[in-house]
């Protein structure tokens, strides 16, 4: 009997294909809680007339450890959940949105949208305590940051 017409051969092929498409880590894990912060950085004084608050000390210290700006102000703070193999779209400002998709255990695909257009897409493993920062220059030597991390409410 030819190998191709043996039932056991096709059983193994199907089993192999099933394994290829099966992610046990993904199947075991449920939804995750995430926190996204939209941060504006400046060397100048806190702008008057705007109700800005400084980012939490831990985030500020981490950002200061990497970037040159002195002041970091939180524009928006969004807590959200992403289901296993699911995605969530979160509006951070009138011009800025993010979309986070969970691809597997601790692995995410993050898309940043500016004025409705996808600006950047990044795949990233996020473990507890890890930050993913999407950032860019803003006007007058300032900068914006979208800081994403795992979050325990």
């Amino acid at each position: 009997m030819s190998t191709l017409i043996r039932p056991t051969f096709w059983a193994w092929v199907l089993l192999g294909l099933g394994w290829a498409g099966f992610d046990p880590v993904q199947a075991q894990e449920g939804e995750v809680d995430l926190l996204a912060q939209l941060v504006w950085a400046t060397d100048g004084a806190k702008p008057t007339g705007k109700d800005l608050k400084e980012v939490d000390a831990a985030t500020r210290d981490k950002l200061r450890g990497v970037f040159r700006w002195k002041g970091y102000f939180e524009i928006a703070r969004k807590e959200f959940k992403v289901a296993a193999t699911g995605m969530a779209r979160v509006r951070m400002s009138s011009k800025c949105e993010i979309e986070v998709e969970q691809l597997g255990k601790e692995t995410f695909e993050v898309k940043l949208f500016g004025e409705g257009k996808m600006v950047v897409k990044k795949r990233q493993t996020l473990q507890s305590g890890e930050l993913l920062v999407l950032a860019g220059d803003d006007k007058n030597d300032t900068a914006w940051f979208v800081v994403i991390r795992l979050h325990k409410p």
């Binding site: 394994w19 400002s93 011009k95």
Partner: protein
Amino acid sequence: MKELDHALKLQAYVDGELPDREARAMAESLKRDERQQALHDGLRSIKALLRDNELELPVPETREFYWSQIQRGIAAEPVQRASGAGLLSGWLRWLVPVGATALLCVYWLWPTAGRSGSASGLLVGHEIETPLAETTSFAFRSESAAMTVVWVETRGLHNLASGE
């Protein structure tokens, strides 16, 4: 080269393998060329010597028995090969899927295999996509801050933070 071709053609003529038309042309050519004639005679002599003096090796068995032995040998060969290969293919039937499954398990269960941005410094080609033509980006990693940064350079896309 031409001489060799001609000699091979002459050999074919001696063996009676040339088409009629070429055979006639060769016969005419031989009448005119003594060297060709000498070669022709030599080849014919060798052919005659081989034909007349070839050793006959008679098969001790009858013709039918001799060929039936060969036939049985041919028929038995695939069975032997199949029994040898059967053992090997039996192992392969197990080893190939088990090996493939093991590889898949290692890939999926390895905590950071191919997924982690654990390298320090600039992350080159690190699964970043910037579809807009006016946008460029690069990524870097700070181990001390446990932070991966994607820095986006945009033209005409400011105030994402303020929304102004």
